[in-house]
Symmetry: C2
Subunit: 225 residues, 2 copies
Amino acid sequence: MTVNPHPTRENLASAAIKLFLAKGFERTTADEIAEEAGVARRTFFRYFRAKEDAVLPDHDGCLDRVRELLERSADPADPLAALHRAAHLVLGLYSHDPAMAVRRYELMHKVESLREREIMTINRYQRAFAEHLRRISPEDDLLRHDVTAAAIVATHNHVLRQWIRDGAAGDVHARLDEALGTVTAALTAWPPGDERQEDSLVVVVASAGTPMWRIAKQLRAAAKA
Amino acid sequence: MTVNPHPTRENLASAAIKLFLAKGFERTTADEIAEEAGVARRTFFRYFRAKEDAVLPDHDGCLDRVRELLERSADPADPLAALHRAAHLVLGLYSHDPAMAVRRYELMHKVESLREREIMTINRYQRAFAEHLRRISPEDDLLRHDVTAAAIVATHNHVLRQWIRDGAAGDVHARLDEALGTVTAALTAWPPGDERQEDSLVVVVASAGTPMWRIAKQLRAAAKA
């Protein structure tokens, strides 16, 4: 056994995925992963609580960074901007190593306990997103916050999955920007409770080529004026 | 020990929740639940694979009914109608016994493994919803399907949670109808890919009191004409 004096989380994760794909998740032990990575068994367990954790990216660390980012970004004028940045942060966790992202995805489809870990993690991001919205717009519709958090997480997952299926090539962050733009446009047209009953006349003349979502946005602005 | 010759799932669930709340989830055994319900230990395990399952409503059965409902309802003109009915079906699973819903919610906040089961289950409904949309509108924007499924599930969870927090009184199905109406209005304003680039002039005159979401809907219809 070659001893690696400076093992990193990535060394261990890479060794784990290699063995899981080669001989199966169930039949691979933590000892074998440690040996493959050239570290002692106890070193493995200093990084990971269980075999499953070795495959997933560092969500605990990422969730800390997401929470920090959201706490720093409390602009009530644009509550979604910080969530978009947070979604890019999570996406980067997967996309910085495209080959690893593909192998992890492959493994995820074979091992139910891995999928379960992933689903639990996704839920933690979604809760952090909803909490951010409640913190910066406490007077707003709470249903809207929950749906917005769910929609942004679903958008992130959709973009990541499609990118991986397409071979993990190309700019995944540009894809996420475009998708978030579409989803945000729909959420912008959310009918606000205080305006649904408003008794006003609205006339809009839109110029050629104006996208529908922009007209909807203008209408809301007009109704507020 | 009194032997109950016709135990039902509900008898066992009720006994389980009573003991979990009285002496704690971890310290209650399956044997004790069986004894409380007046059945043999093996009867308990005929109904449930694990202690956790005894607390949760019958999601396996409900998921089967949801899938049947969605398979019967393949109206491409109104892809959301079936999902709304499915959301009501799931809501009924909780709301038909309000007292149980409240105690289950209380327990859920104390026991992490129960919350995890619940999150996993929610994910199964969300996947069934997205699959339904892909099946009946395969040509539509896949991102929209994923976001719609996530939004409907988030709406259901939001309404159920608020109803329980408000003491599980009043018509929870009416609350869900109202919330789904709001969310559907937002999703109706979704900017469709093939219209975003369209080079047409749109003029709308809305009469007094017209809600914004209805104007957005009209605009889309006008753009298609």
